[in-house]
């Protein structure tokens, strides 16, 4: 279930990445940069994450080199077998195409020379020859874009990118750099219309036959933007060979959209009834156009049957769009909830289990976020690795600070919650100012590794951002880990024992003060880990913690103090409530409404959603 965009972006060499960030980036430039690398797309996202983080040096080198042997470089050993099968397929298709053509006498001549020096008709022949081998795709695209030049002195062809003084040249086949030349040293290879048509067909065909499905899909999408009979014929032909379901669907969609304009009514009816099952913006536009009126108030579409069908299809698609919107809202809500839960489960330990009000909890998160920043500064070339390493580091840093707070301050204040609140608030001010003095009062930027940026485009109407998706998963992992620690480990047993009956625990030989420190350290460490997650979605600055402290207390109290599951449910439901309200009330008002709701809720049920029961809770 990966999107084309995600895959393509992953394989883009590092140098080109910033320019390619925009969702509507140039398809061509993407294809040129990716053409030498072949698919690893069948593997799961997580495997890729792992590879990119731990094997990225291995993977990136060949991409950056882009060197001598077209077609065989840029693949790691892992990919080679799959790649071989693919190239075999391509060769087979190419051979079939060659066999269908009459053999020409001058085919033995070098097509590159023909292209360079020959007449227009000779160039046509050259293009047709070159079109037989997918290795020439880049050359043909350059030709089409007017970027193919004759290097006069050396009598050879080169792809030229205009610079301030002249052109920087690369070899059209190998992609190797040929240095920079002045403007006068090269001559552009000219085209005529016939040649252009031919080129477009050739490129389309080459791309459609390309081993990488991402390139093939790109080709289909490019053709869909500017459909003509030849392209349609190409696509129809290709449909039979295509194995990738996504591409088949894309081609069918293009064909069906064309069928709507067909003179044959049954074909139109068929197209509309089929298209209503497609989640495609193009289909919506096309169907919409069928139902509209022109300036005079007459329907654009004369046939009322078609109009009614289009209306019905639109209703169907819109219904699905609403469902997608709902899914998206829930997803955003869950991801916001995940952030809240991450911020709150540390508190659920310190406040819920130990009964300590730690107002510096937000600052412990802030420390976690700054740890991430520092780690990225230490490993500037491996942002992803730095992020992964930040998780244990942030846990350690925050846990140590937490233990210091507990040993230094809180243990003198057990049983005096209001005093604890004030003293830890002092700590929070202290930490804030410390960070301000050490780093800067300004926000620091923590980079998002590539595998976390971008989004998962499920269809035209639904795309989910990766960083939120990872945070959601991360939240669940942390939660499960914490639950396991409390349930399975000795520390967990001791923590629960001390929480339930301190005196009895001590009588049984549990070192309660050590357990207190460890528990507080655990809660604080989780705050630090939450900070790592926060660094990926918000600014890292001295005020980071302040923004979350009220929210996280609300989550704990709403869920029921001392109940980890309550915290989870409360976090997610508040997150979803926030996102559901947002479209109606705006972000700020939604937040206010949620706060007011919680204030009222606590007054109705002071012990939260899942109160602890029994006589112990009475006291």
């Amino acid at each position: 279930m990966q999107s084309q965009r995600f895959r393509t972006r992953l394989k883009t060499p590092p140098g080109l990445r910033p320019a390619d960030r925009s969702p509507k980036n140039s398809l061509l430039s993407m294809m040129t940069t990716t053409s030498t690398q072949t698919g690893i797309e069948t593997r799961g996202v997580f495997k890729r994450l792992f590879e990119l983080v731990f094997l990225n040096t291995v993977r990136r080198e060949p991409v950056a080199g882009l060197s001598a042997q077209p077609g065989s470089n840029g693949t790691s050993a892992v990919d080679r077998s799959g790649w071989l099968i693919r190239i075999g397929l391509v060769l087979l298709i190419a051979a079939a195409a060659m066999a269908a053509r009459p053999v020409l006498a001058d085919e033995t001549g070098n097509p590159l020379d023909l292209l360079r020096q020959g007449s227009m008709s000779e160039r046509e022949q050259a293009v047709e020859q070159l079109a037989a081998d997918s290795a020439n795709l880049k050359l043909l695209q350059a030709l089409q874009d007017g970027k193919l030049f004759e290097l006069k002195a050396e009598a050879k062809l080169a792809i030229g990118l205009e610079t301030q003084t002249g052109y920087s040249l690369t070899d059209p086949i190998s992609g190797a750099s040929l240095g920079e030349v002045e403007r006068g040293a090269v001559g552009k290879i000219n085209l005529n219309n016939k040649l252009r048509t031919l080129l477009r067909k050739a490129i389309g065909q080459l791309q459609l036959n390309h081993a990488d499905p991402a390139v093939r899909l790109g080709a289909v999408q490019a053709m869909a933007k500017n459909v003509d009979d030849k392209a349609l014929a190409l696509l129809k032909d290709h449909l039979d060979h295509e194995a990738d379901a996504e591409i088949v669907a894309a081609i069918r969609s293009v064909l069906l959209l064309q069928d709507i304009n067909s003179p044959d009514k049954s074909q139109r009816v068929n197209a509309i009834t089929t298209l209503k099952e497609f989640d495609s913006q193009d289909a919506v536009n096309k169907l919409q156009a069928l139902t509209e009126k022109d300036a005079d108030g007459n329907f654009v579409e004369a046939d009322s049957d078609i109009r009614n069908l289009a209306e019905a299809a639109l209703i169907k698609i819109r219904g699905r769009m609403q469902a997608y919107a709902a899914i998206e809202t829930v997803f955003f809500g869950l991801s916001l909830g995940a952030v809240l839960v991450l911020a709150a489960i540390g508190l659920a330990i310190t406040f819920g289990v130990m009964g300590i009000i730690n107002m510096a909890h937000g600052e412990l998160m802030m420390l976690g976020a700054y740890t991430t920043y520092v780690m990225q500064q230490l490993l500037p070339n491996n942002l992803g690795t730095a992020l992964i390493l930040s998780i244990p580091m942030a846990f350690l840093v925050a846990a140590l600070v937490g233990i210091a707070i507990e040993r230094g301050i809180i243990r003198f204040l057990y049983g005096r919650p209001l005093e604890t609140l004030l003293a830890t608030f002092g700590v929070s001010l202290f930490l804030q100012q410390a960070v301000r003095s050490i780093f800067s009062p300004l926000n620091r930027s923590v980079a998002t590794p590539d595998w976390m940026s971008g989004s998962w485009q499920i269809n035209d109407f639904l795309s989910l951002t990766w960083n939120r998706f990872y945070i959601l998963i991360f939240c669940l992992l942390v939660f499960t880990a914490l639950l396991q620690i409390l349930k399975r480990t000795k520390l967990g047993l001791e923590v629960r024992a001390v929480a339930q009956n301190r005196g009895m625990a001590r009588a049984m030989g549990i070192p309660t003060s050590r357990v207190d420190a460890m528990t507080f350290g655990l809660g604080s460490g989780i705050a630090g880990v939450a900070g790592v997650a926060l660094s990926q979605i918000t600014n890292v600055g001295p005020n980071l913690g302040q923004a979350y402290i009220v929210d996280s207390f609300m989550v704990v109290v709403f869920g029921g103090v001392g109940n980890l599951f309550g915290t989870l449910v409360a976090g997610f439901s508040l997150g979803i409530a926030n996102k559901v309200l947002e479209p109606y009330a705006g972000a700020v008002l939604a937040k206010i409404l949620v706060l007011v709701f919680i204030i009222l809720f606590i007054q109705k049920k002071p012990r939260g959603l899942f109160p602890q029961k029994g006589r112990a809770a009475e006291s």
């Binding site: 029961k613 029994g614 009475e618």
Partner: protein, 269 residues
Amino acid sequence: MMISAASTPEGGASLPLTGEVDARHGPILYMEDVSVSFDGFRALNHLSLYIDDGELRCLIGPNGAGKTTLMDVITGKTKPDSGSVFFGQTIDLLELDEPAIAQAGICRKFQKPSVFDALTVFENLELALKTDKRTWPTLFHKLNGEQRDRIHDVLQTIALPAQQRQLAGALSHGQKQWLEIGMLLMQDPKVMLVDEPIAGMTHQEVERTAELLLSLQGKHSIVVVEHDMEFVRSIARKVTVLHEGSVLTEGTMDEVQNDPRVIQVYLGG
């Protein structure tokens, strides 16, 4: 202004006065078929208990028998899952909250002496004084001569006239117990619920407490919860034994002590 307006519907003015308690048919306190459970644990189990007007009743029972929970139910601290609790014939205690029940004339001494440490002995009694207890009248309240006399009477009764200007926090444990009993007296209650009154007292103090409680019966209905059997024997006419949340038996101290079930509960376990 706003506050007094808000206090009227819930405030003391609408509450039944003590004089209205209808105890003509004998019992002043009815508990019928009362059950309370905490998280699966049945603290009270279909308990029925009747206290007569002016009676001094002792409640005994092993730990966890439900004695404190019973007091919680009568004073409104805990709402029972089922059953009914009436004060006299007409006042349904389950419809009232703690202050309303207190103003109706049921007062309670806690197991742990709870007096106001930061206030003087005199002030402790003053707060307990039976008077208009809404906010604004309290703000402007001035003691009149009669009320002052009443406080001094109670100070005499609880033997603390010399300590009246001392902070209650400085009193001994036994003195705090008396002060709390004194606070009960200040409220001129119909029913006094007294939870473990002699804990921490010296022998002399215990004797005085027994005298005090005996002198109060008749004027007030008194329910005493106590573990000290000797003390119970010295004051009780009628003893009720609670076990596992319901009444095991009732009778004089001798009857109760010879009841094989009671012996079983206390000794056989």
